[in-house]
Symmetry: C2
């Protein structure tokens, strides 16, 4: 199915992540047709040589492989399965790759519908954030038919660095949920530890220097605490998208009869943060919700002087 590539690639969803990822495919010399809800957000890619199509079915009609990178499962459902969706326009032998972090159960549903039309389907969510997307260092967790995965692998290698096949349909999404479950409780620990340090009068840089290098160390601690110490709560990865991910994981866990008290607590705390107008902030802003809980004004620069 090298023909899939010659027929050109489709890309749906040109937010911060999607634009960067699609840009790597363009830069690698692929012919790419794009569609996104707001055409202006695709302008950079169109200027870079991408072609425009007026809807997901139109993208699919022209392309051998169609990628999606959008916001929420409802978007994925409409764009993949809707009346004017990708599967409505896709030819037999083509492939639909959803890179959105979305529901494992929806990924399975799409895979079934795709198979009915002779279309291949992969769920392939990523981790690594906007920086990983720009630098093409994303981790990609892939579920679906292994032969279809092998066909798409050369394209994944243009976008990401660590590409790991996880199993049948939905397993890429399940792997991403494992990732987000780790991050959620990890961030609770990072924020609570920083607040403890702050309230106890420790010098934050000094204590972080010693705890970061040992058994308490984590990617989140190393990468988010410098931002928190500067009062930088910009995304990175936004609270509203993280809440979406956590809710997917909790819903899937409920289906599996699995209680996850730590993830449920993180969910509640992130809901509180969103209620405090933190939805557009970065996930590290959980610190502010926890500070507010104990009536703490977070001002680490002031505390040091």
């Amino acid at each position: 199915m090298a023909s899939s590539f010659e027929e050109g690639l489709g890309w749906i969803g040109t937010g911060v992540m999607g634009s960067a990822m699609c840009g790597h495919l363009l830069a690698a010399g692929h012919r790419v047709t794009v569609y996104t809800r707001t055409r202006a957000r695709a302008q950079g890619l169109l200027d870079g040589g991408a072609e425009w199509a007026d809807g997901p079915a139109e993208v699919a009609a022209r392309c051998g492989v169609v990628f999606m990178m959008v916001g929420f499962p409802a978007d994925v459902r409409e764009l993949a399965l809707g009346q004017r969706g990708v599967l409505a326009g896709a030819r037999a032998g083509s492939i639909l790759v959803d890179m959105t972090t979305s529901e494992p159960s929806l990924a399975k549903e799409i895979a079934v519908a795709a198979t009915d039309r002779g279309v291949g389907a992969l769920d392939a969510p990523v981790s690594g954030g906007d920086v990983g997307a720009r630098k093409a260092t994303l981790s990609i967790m892939v579920g679906g038919d292994p032969d279809v995965f092998e066909q798409v692998r050369p394209l994944f290698e243009i976008i990401g660095q660590t590409i790991v096949y996880q199993g049948g349909p939905g397993m890429g999404q399940h792997a991403k949920m494992v990732n987000q479950t780790l991050i959620a409780s990890g961030m609770v620990g990072v924020c609570e530890a920083l607040l403890y340090a702050y309230k106890s009068g420790l010098d934050l840089e000094t204590v972080l220097a010693v705890v970061s290098s040992g058994a308490a160390g984590s990617w989140s601690l190393t990468n988010y605490t410098p931002r928190m110490l500067k009062g930088d709560f910009e995304p990175g990865f936004s609270v509203e998208h993280f809440i979406k991910d956590i809710e997917i994981a909790l819903a899937e866990a409920r289906r599996m009869d699995l209680a996850l008290p730590g993830l449920a607590l993180a969910h509640e705390l992130y809901l509180a943060l969103r209620a405090q107008d933190g939805g557009r902030k970065g996930t590290q802003a959980l610190l502010l919700a926890l500070a507010r809980l104990s009536n703490i004004t977070w001002d680490p620069a002031g505390s040091e002087t």
Copy 2:
């Protein structure tokens, strides 16, 4: 105060950690006098050239610097402040170094009592576990008078690798509480993520390969999951000691008017694990308590075949 070293060193508490740490001082050529509750547990050090004393006051009477590495704050209180305790026997100009993970408020109390007798006092808890103790790669977080710290620093450098002064009395203990707060919620996340992966049918090694290297990565994930996958729940660091640490952190947080919901949840889960006869297991056995919560039999080897 080089004289403190010439007068010989005292060591109280010869458990797994203390024996290894004291052994490094002996191996470096220092004259060491030991005391511990059960003399048989000091036999290795006595065979290695250490001298025995019949109690903490007797150790202090002979030594310029006395180290303690015992189990619980109640032990620290009795050994430092009791009628036959270190301060009862210590000479002016000597130094008491408590390396037990203990209460910041007790460290301050000891520092005040020590100062009254012309004795220096440091709180200097460690992280790095039994492996760090054996390899002399411990991190040591030190609180107390900075001049006293500088006098003891050459001895710390024999025992540990990362030695960081954190501030006045109790600040070493506070730094250790920051460390344990990070580890507690981090372990909740690791265990819940593993159970999610297990229930969803992911291949555990495959999903860990991709999540460990990215934003979800942590020391605990890298170092504990291989043991969990083998069903190895031996300590390492025991649940009952970790509960002690968490309770100290929660009590200090309460004093500071600081709510730590994530740490409080971890506390409840570790209490459940202890109730399930898990007190002597390693901290990674939290997985078993969370598995039991959802009626899961943890058998990852079986699940792979």
